[in-house]
């Protein structure tokens, strides 16, 4: 039996030093809705738990030049209740708010959802569509990377030893922009996405001038589907354009057959969700 140490530092530097000094046995604790479940099931047995919920920068939402920075440990509930964020990024917020239930929302963070690195994590396709940037700090200082570059495989990120996620930057929004996230689960809640799809787009005079599409649960990591975005840009989002984007989503899928869905089903649903999410985002963009 190994004892577990617990630390709750007040600064990022301390947190980084603790994790870096733990020889790989250190784990960040945000909401704990993944970490504690994995510890209880015996999947993980960390020697040191570093709780980051006492660190100011990780637990607030700040606004910078029209964009937002969501601290890595901010809970879903706080995000949903923010005065301006849900209006600016309805798709990102609905994705984060889909995680678990009311109880889970009081704890679960976007940073945790990202770092847990599940291919089916709900917030990630929406963050990819949004063009969000991950802010990372480690023993060698700060760096930034797009969300779609963050994952290395199921359960694995591109963080280097000692690095932690500080926050997620959402860029300023052009007029006529909106986003949406949809997931397919066989039940109505308390389930894991069989497919998740985020769409962010900008409409000017009825024409789509920018679009990004993120897909989850269809490959070892969440995907940015550039071809799908391209298929939408320059169109009025007519059926033909949506059909082309859906085909691009299907083509991007590299799913597996598992207890949550079949290859055929996941591939089909990626296209279905793209069309539905794009329509919702467009309706929102039109206001």
């Amino acid at each position: 039996m190994q004892d577990i140490q617990y630390a709750a530092p007040k600064t990022i530097d301390e947190a980084v030093a603790l994790v870096a000094g733990a020889n790989g046995s250190g784990r960040i604790l945000a909401g704990g809705t993944d970490l504690l479940v994995q510890m209880r099931s015996g999947m993980l047995s960390p020697g040191l738990i570093v709780d980051v919920k006492k660190i100011g920068e990780l637990t607030r939402i700040s606004e910078e030049g029209g964009g937002f920075v969501i601290g890595a440990a901010v809970s879903g509930a706080q995000i949903g209740e923010h005065a301006r964020l849900p209006k600016a990024w309805p798709g990102v917020v609905e994705a984060i708010n889909l995680i678990g239930s009311k109880q889970i929302q009081g704890r679960a963070s976007a940073g945790g959802n990202l770092c847990n690195a599940s291919p089916a994590a709900d917030s990630v396709p929406a963050l990819i569509a949004a063009g969000a940037i991950v802010v990372v700090q480690g023993p060698k200082g700060r760096r930034e990377m797009p969300v779609e570059k963050f994952h290395a495989g199921p359960g694995r990120s591109n963080l280097t030893p000692g690095e932690i996620v500080v926050g997620l930057k959402l860029p300023p929004r052009a007029a006529g922009s909106a986003d949406a996230y949809l997931r397919l689960i066989p039940r109505t809640e308390m389930d894991i996405a069989v497919v998740g799809c985020g769409v962010s787009l900008t409409l000017q005079n009825g024409k789509c001038t920018a679009a990004r599409v993120g897909l989850g649960a269809v490959a070892p990591t969440p995907l940015l589907v550039e071809e799908a975005g391209k298929a939408l840009v320059g169109t009025t989002l007519d059926e033909a354009a949506l059909g082309k984007a859906a085909a691009a989503c299907r083509a991007a899928c590299k799913p597996i057959d598992d207890k949550r869905g079949t290859i055929a089903y996941r591939t089909k649903i990626a296209g279905v969700l793209l069309q539905r999410a794009a329509k919702i985002a467009a309706d929102r963009a039109k206001g």
Binding site: L184, G261, K268, V272
Partner: protein, 759 residues
Amino acid sequence: MGEHRYKWIGTRPNRPDGADKVTGRARFGADFNMPGQLVGKVLRSPHAHAIIKSIDVSKAAALPGVKAIVTSKDFPEQPNQIVSAGEMLVNLRDITRNVMAREKALYDGHAVAAVAATTEAIAKEALGLIKVDYQVLPHVIDVEAAMKDDAPILHDHIRTEGVEPKPTKPSNIAKRIAFAKGDIEAGFKKAELVVERTFHTAPVHQGYIEPHAVLASAAEDGQVQVWCTTQGQFTVRGFCSRLLNLETSHIRVTPSEIGGGFGGKTVVYLEPVAIRLSQKTGKPVKMVMSREEVFRASGPTSGGMVKVRLGATRDGRLVAADCTAALQAGAFPGSPVGQGCMCSFACYDVDHIRVIGYDVVSNRPKVAAYRAPGAPILAWGVESAMDILAQELGIDPIDLRLKNAAKKGTKTHYGPTFNTIGFEECLQAAKNSDHWKSPLKPGFARGIAAGFWFNIGGDSSAAAHVGEDGTVTIISGNPDIGGSRASLAMMAAEELGIDYTKVRPIVADTSSIGFNFLTGGSRVTFATGLAVVEAARDVVRELKKRAAKIWEVEPDAVVWENGEAKPASTNVGQQEPLSLAKLAAMAGKTGGPINGHGQLNAQGAGPGFGVHIVDLKVDRDTGIVVVDRFTAVQDVGTAVHPSYVEGQLQGGAVQGIGWAVNEEYIYSAKGKLENPGFLDYRMPVASDLPRIETILVEVANPMHPYGVRGVGEVPIVPPMAAIGNAVARATGVRMLDLPMSPPRLSAAMDAARPKMAAE
């Protein structure tokens, strides 16, 4: 309601166990603790099928804090002998092997050893130190694969029973059974239309919220006490007595409050192991299963294959009904194929019926009872086929059933002739319901299906103890799963003529009340209810005797009315009535304590019938089924406490909806269960469901003083077919296999699309 006028029966008072349950005071299986107790943990097979060549426990035994380890060597061999357990039959030879694997591990999760240690962490560590040398064998999961000639054989001693000549080779088909009425081929000759399809269902777990849990304490003098969550403390006592060679009177089993059972807590898993560990250590041993263990090692109900052939005339009269069913038993024989076959066509009055069933073993956990065991599997086939028939004949599905409904005097294909039953009444009530008469919302479709279950009676004992203040304790021995304490107390209050609040019902341990067969088969309110009525009547007899003594008259000169002894006539004299409270206060002077007893083998359980109606829509692109409205109609005999009767109907319907649309066991190629948790074993969540509406039809059971019929099982029989029938009407696609999960339904719709476009 009929001519009966009751004071309590048919009302909705609070349940006696309600306050404790909502405040958290109620004690469930894992809430019992004793000073000095050890923690017991089970080592489980990671293989679906493997010979256990040896088990080396030396390293684990040497770990500080480990107090005892048991393997199959610690349990005596048992005879190849069948005993009843709830509605299921179990073989002692098999059950000791299910509790602890002997020669072979037969499924992923099969117990192979157990440890008692001072802490949970040490016990878990010790499990990792036990070395089991397995020789992995080819395995078989599915029922039809297990029936094939070249399938891996689970048990070398099994020769298919019920076939002539007696087979010489071992088989996974443990038994063939057959029922017949009339002449099936002659029946089909009269048919103007024949419908034939083959259906499948997936095995499903009972999904009780509370995992199996036990605390056992074996004392130096051989006395054993057990606290556990179970549907039958007497069943636990019986099994443990046989499996451990203990006298029944030396085992005292106290049932906890129960967090659901649905049939799954009618057998033993942990109890004999905890007792053995306690005997070896001299300390109390507590064992609690994890959810994963519940899924991997405790009984689901069978999955099965059902081939149905119906023959009818153009005007909708069934002339022949034929079906063949094969049900998974799990690792040991004993699926509910018999009950399922008996239920198959029980709803219908058909002259020519043939039903054949196969009981098949495969490398999955041994099945346990689950609400109306077997019946839902057969009903999925039969009620779907009835709907196809209705569609092909262009007849309203309720009218088709009314035309063929079983009624009083109908002779069933399995033997008995029905006494008073309420199937036609249920169909009429469904037809007259607001639901059936309401127009469908655009995009929605409606399905109906019917269901049948026998309900059982059996052995029950009860006592009624009168306190010195005139309140009464009702003592019986059935764990209260669906509100039975309230119903028993209401019947006692009715008999005694006193207030419901003056009657306190309790569930006693095995040493404090006579034998009660377990809570199952929808028997408690009927059978134990009869014992309670008898105990209350025994008290009334005694009360009349005491009044007679006080008045110095013969006991039959006294009548009992509204809770008081009164002179039978003016001839007896002008006596002031004596209330129960007054007689109780004077008991010491009139002959001592006043108690009553009832003990019986209840016969005449009234069979139950139900009809379910569902409105749903199907998302064409995703295959997701959205249930919008659901009504469960059922003949409930007499609803003693209507709220709890409605609760049974609602719960059964919800479990049936889960069975229909999502629940299934997913196995890897190696035979490992991939979804042993509620995240991926998808039972419905509250937001998936509409409020389940209920219509209680009351056709009194003539064999019970208050007309009680069991109500707990019928409601899980119709929902799957009701949903399948609605799905067929919504999409034009007839689903033959359960679950109708989004990927399957979506694939079926896609496959049908070109065909439908061409038509």
